[in-house]
Symmetry: D2
Subunit: 102 residues, 4 copies
């Protein structure tokens, strides 16, 4: 299981509000029943099988083009750990536990 | 007010667990009373005055060196909007409202 | 045609030198005859069909695991423009022309 | 000495061509005599003292606002190594040498 964060930016929209495009992108994820995801203010974090995550991201990247945008810049960061199960919760819990220990 | 996401990676640690270094980085933010922040599984999102955010990130980046690491790769993404107040909550709320409209 | 930049970071290597892992990653690209690529000091820029780029990146991301690393963080940025042919050269040339105009 | 890559994206420009804004950003770097930089098709790589790099990036990020843009997303990646001198050339040379060894 891997984690990935994806952030999609439509370029050349006349407005600086792009939330409708982002909402379209996130809608794609509803079809991927084996992926968990979390929307943050800086992107969407996806948890699951890496190949399935990448298929989902490929479709997410296409969404703004489907809605009239002619340029899209998509940033992806993958965190893939194979010696230990990595989940959204386990990563945050691990940092928080260390923070408490001081 | 701007948003920034920061992700710090210590390189050359013998273990693939790096949460103790990340906890040190996040501790720095407690001193910045005018910044709000949120820890996610892929980084830390900071909200506030951009210059203050960058000062905080400069110190965050230094933390792993203070704990014996000799190489650090830090990724930063700034989202800065001047025509409208941008907050962590307003961005997510705006996308979620569009998602509901469908 | 799209452009993508990929940067692979092996985590938990005992040394802070990671160039041998990066060399393995870049070697993968030799098999992709339809992709052009350029190695920079901060990543590798790949030009070509987006689906083929993503297949190559998927294999690049796997390389450090094939050489004993147990955690890999891979950053990808895609620049995809459909109203105009986008190439590594055309992008730099366009900026340089504007720089000269002043 | 550190390396950083910066990529500035103006959001809400009516055109999907943003090279004039990028040219303005790069012009800023001419004033920083102690920094070396290289323009690539995916960003600008800057080499030098980290604090000076961050001051330059702060001004680069401001440039599109000075030219009428109301939202800017700036991505920065810092590679900072303290056990060995890190330069744009040394990093690429090191990878290329490993590639030749095969």
């Amino acid at each position: 299981m891997a984690l990935a964060e994806v952030s999609v930016l439509p370029i050349g929209t006349s407005s600086s509000s792009v939330s409708k495009y982002i909402a379209n992108c996130i809608s794609v994820l509803k079809e991927y029943k084996n992926l968990n995801y979390k929307v943050t203010s800086m992107g969407t974090i996806i948890e699951g099988d890496l190949d399935e995550i990448l298929r989902a991201i490929r479709r997410i990247h296409e969404e703004p083009f489907n809605h009239g945008v002619s340029r899209v810049v998509t940033a992806i960061r993958i965190d893939d750990r194979r010696d230990k199960e990595l989940t959204m919760n386990s990563k945050v819990d691990s940092v928080m536990a260390k923070l408490k220990e001081g």
